[in-house]
């Protein structure tokens, strides 16, 4: 009954054609995304790539639905031309729950989702004069200490 996610962790991504909504994204992002997917390990990529084009310091918002009962890892990155990006996470009531700018690892964040919820991820460029493609990819993992039965 226990899902053996570990058995499939080596797979780059598992969900076929889990199409996402984003800008008509740029090809330059592809290599950056591939690197990002590698950084998700040991989390399993959910198969989706959320990419956005950032311009003149304007942030982009991605509204994501997440299930209760899973550990998640958010990994963000960007093409070289854009430089470093940071992200903030808000709940649906617009309460800030995370700011990567104050984190030791500004490119990723791991958490357990204790309810099915929509989170809002805002991605910013550090250098407002630059523009280009940024991405957010999501990894998931079954928690070790609990299962959905406990919820």
């Amino acid at each position: 009954m226990k899902l053996q996610l570990k058995n499939i962790l080596s797979i780059v991504s598992l969900t076929l054609l889990s199409f996402t909504i984003s800008t008509s994204s740029v090809a330059q992002c592809k290599s950056a995304v591939k690197e990002g997917i590698k950084k998700l390990a040991p989390y399993t990529h959910n198969g989706q790539v959320n990419n956005v084009t950032l311009i003149l310091g304007e942030p982009s918002e991605i509204h994501l639905s997440l299930y209760k009962g899973l550990n998640y890892k958010f990994q963000i990155g960007s093409e070289n031309a854009l430089g470093k990006v940071t992200f903030k996470i808000w709940d649906e009531d617009k309460n800030e729950i995370y700011n990567s700018a104050t984190s030791a690892d500004p490119e990723s964040w791991v958490f357990y989702s204790n309810s099915t919820q929509n989170l809002i991820i805002e991605i910013y460029t550090k250098d407002k004069e630059k523009q280009g493609c940024a991405y957010l990819i999501v990894g998931m993992q079954q928690p070790k200490n609990n299962s959905i039965k406990n919820l």
């Binding site: 199409f19 959320n50 942030p59 009962g69």
Partner: protein, 307 residues
């Protein structure tokens, strides 16, 4: 490359306009057909407003995108509940010849991709290959380059006995196809594929919930209240497309059942060591009548799509 630069230039101009006329609704990213404008802020800010700057989102300056959980996420939860594989709830592969219009091809590409994800998680090799062929055919029929080319097909044949390898190749091809459609500004097709995939997943989990009466699976159906909100927001951006508009009507009909659900506070739980727990620890409970009502509505919608 040239097109991307010109799109960026257009966006630059739009942003400058927005800064000048701050109350006018926001930039419509010409690159993206799917931006849904955030509400504009008022031009005059009081000192109290300014005091809240650090804790309040400024949606006026953002381009908004929506996404829903992948079928893999949904079926991971399903499998964690101990539910068994049931081939009878999948869309039969021999229906592919019925999918003639672009909308039908896109929606059923999403549906077959969902079925394939379920086959993968439950290690149903033979069925997996059947859905893989259909996905290949529909992707080609939609004119998507860069995904299922000869090179990919060759890799698939070489790894035909290894389900994990097959899925990795197919998944990579899927991401390429997704990118291809976006780069070619076919975002309504992307949204239709996502919607078709959700309808199929919803049909599967609702049927399993009704048959098994497992509390966890019924809870998973209840939690689609949250997912459906993001999905309808996504589709709203293409409401000028009559087929998506019709789809949206059906989805809002399903959403109407969820309107009456009561939020239930769960027992506090402990997450893994060193992992922060996020959320309000609530869930939605469906009555038997509500579950049956959703099953009835999702079956009608699924039959419209899968024919």
């Amino acid at each position: 490359m040239l097109r991307v630069k010109s799109q960026i230039l257009i966006l630059n101009i739009l942003i400058q306009m927005k800064r000048i006329i701050k109350n006018i609704a926001v930039f419509i990213a010409s690159v993206s057909l799917i931006s849904c404008g955030g509400s504009g802020n008022t031009a005059t800010e009081t000192s109290a407003d300014l005091a809240e700057v650090k804790t309040t989102m400024d949606s006026s300056s953002s381009v908004i995108f929506y996404n829903i959980p992948s079928p893999l996420e949904t079926f991971t939860i399903l499998k964690m509940s101990g539910s068994s594989f049931d081939k009878k709830v999948l869309n039969p592969t021999d229906k592919i010849s019925k999918y003639v219009s672009s909308f039908s091809k896109a929606a059923n590409l999403g549906a077959y991709s969902t079925d394939l994800s379920l086959c993968f998680l439950y290690k149903q090799n033979q069925d997996f290959n059947g859905y893989l062929k259909n996905i290949n055919d529909l992707t080609n029929a939609l004119g998507v380059d860069g995904s299922y080319g000869q090179q990919v097909n060759k890799r698939l044949q070489t790894n035909s006995n290894n389900l994990d390898s097959l899925m990795a190749i197919v998944s990579e091809a899927g991401i390429n196809a997704d990118q291809y459609l976006k780069e070619n500004q076919r975002n309504s097709t992307v949204a239709t594929i996502a919607a078709g995939g959700w309808v199929e997943a919803m049909y599967i989990i609702t049927n399993i919930a009704e048959k098994s009466q497992k509390k966890d699976v019924i809870g998973l159906v209840g939690d689609q209240k949250i997912v459906l909100k993001n999905l309808t927001n996504m589709l709203e951006q293409f409401v000028s497309d009559p087929e998506i508009k019709s789809l949206l009507v059906d989805m809002k009909d399903i959403a109407s059942v969820y309107d009456n659900l009561q939020e239930k506070k769960g027992t506090p739980i402990t997450s893994d060591k060193d992992i922060i727990s996020v959320g309000n620890n609530t869930s939605y409970e469906l009555s038997k009548e509500q579950l049956n009502s959703i099953l009835e509505k999702i079956t009608l919608l699924r039959n419209k799509i899968s024919l």
